[in-house]
Symmetry: C2
Subunit: 217 residues, 2 copies
């Protein structure tokens, strides 16, 4: 969030975002689409995870599309397309997060009648996306062991606002001197012990089915 | 940057930031302090790099202090203090980046008469810090191989606004399937081939002296 003098404007921006998120939610529900917002840090493996889940869902006959959100460029979008999945690009220009209005506009480029599941990959950032719900059924936060063991302590908001929390790259935890259990404990302490953080490795295909189950896909 | 309706306000915020950055610059110059803003992604190794450089400078008799910027908590600050270096904490609360005013206020907690070098560790984020100069002599961007090979393409602004660009964790590039030369080439293309990206590993102590030389420390 930017520190603007007129605090009222911040609330106006967030309220307007939530109004449009509400519209997005009903637009997707009217088309029986299950939607997931993947938030998380840069390089946490959001794109790779989306591609992997989409592969598994396609094998079950589920029709998936993803919106690839980034500040600029088409890297994630191109990776998704090359994997054989349907994808739409959404560049924010300067913004460090997607907002409901950007997603609303992008939804006009998605054939909502032809898909069952919509994944939205947010911009790599553990701070601001937390404040901007997009109107999805689920909000997921993805971090990876390479970021250190202090991610939950440093960014509590995004973990509190997420339905599912995922720790990726557990296969290289030793190589980067990180104990995944420290992160898991911080998360359980923050969320009152009611929710489990999913420990996965997209590269080694560990825990993907647990993510799919957690999202009821 | 947040997409606020009144674009004029964005410019006002940035202009006000630059005015205060100018004050910071002169305040530091009046005390003969060399200052460096370390920007970069989450988990790129900014704290570890600052600690390592500070160790080497202290061995040469240079007096160093760091401002540890984070949204919340004291993790980086505590790591710095434990390493034996002087440090001051600066929590942004909700902001995804430091701004010149936060730094200005924090400088009141630093004994400017007793230090030669000031390091400022920005919040982990490759987007917004680019827009908010803090008044330092140098702006450095730190990324790591674990974030993928597309970081320069995805976040050109911060590389353009930095004096020195550093690629950390080159020792585990193979383990994360990333070719450092792709990143280096993107950077050289973006900056017109005039600047070299420094390839380092803080953990393996590779390239630290090159960073110190690039900052004329």
């Amino acid at each position: 969030m930017h520190n603007i003098t007129n605090v009222g404007m911040e609330y106006d921006v967030l309220r307007e975002n939530n109004n449009i998120a509400h519209e997005n939610y009903h637009m997707l529900k009217d088309h029986n689409i299950v939607s997931v917002d993947f938030m998380g840090s840069i390089g946490a493996g959001k794109t790779a995870l989306i591609i992997k889940i989409a592969e598994k869902l396609r094998a079950k006959g589920v029709k998936v599309c993803a919106i690839a959100g980034d500040v600029t460029g088409v890297d994630d979008f191109t990776r998704m397309e090359k994997s054989g999945m349907e994808a739409v690009n959404c560049n924010t220009g300067k913004e460090c997060h997607l907002d409901a209005n950007m997603v609303h506009k992008t939804l006009h480029n998605v054939d909502l009648n032809s898909i069952d599941v919509l994944f939205i990959e947010n911009v790599g950032n553990l701070v601001c996306p937390a404040d901007f719900p997009l109107g999805t059924d689920y909000r997921v936060v993805v971090i990876s062991t390479t970021e250190g063991d202090d991610m939950v302590r440093k960014h509590p908001d995004i973990f509190i606002h997420s339905d599912v929390a995922i720790l990726n790259k557990i296969d290289i935890a030793d190589a980067v001197d990180v104990d995944p259990e420290v992160i898991v404990r911080d998360y359980e302490k923050l969320t009152g012990g009611n929710k489990k953080m999913l420990k996965i490795s997209v590269k080694k295909e560990i825990g993907i089915d647990e993510v799919i189950a957690a999202l009821n896909l």
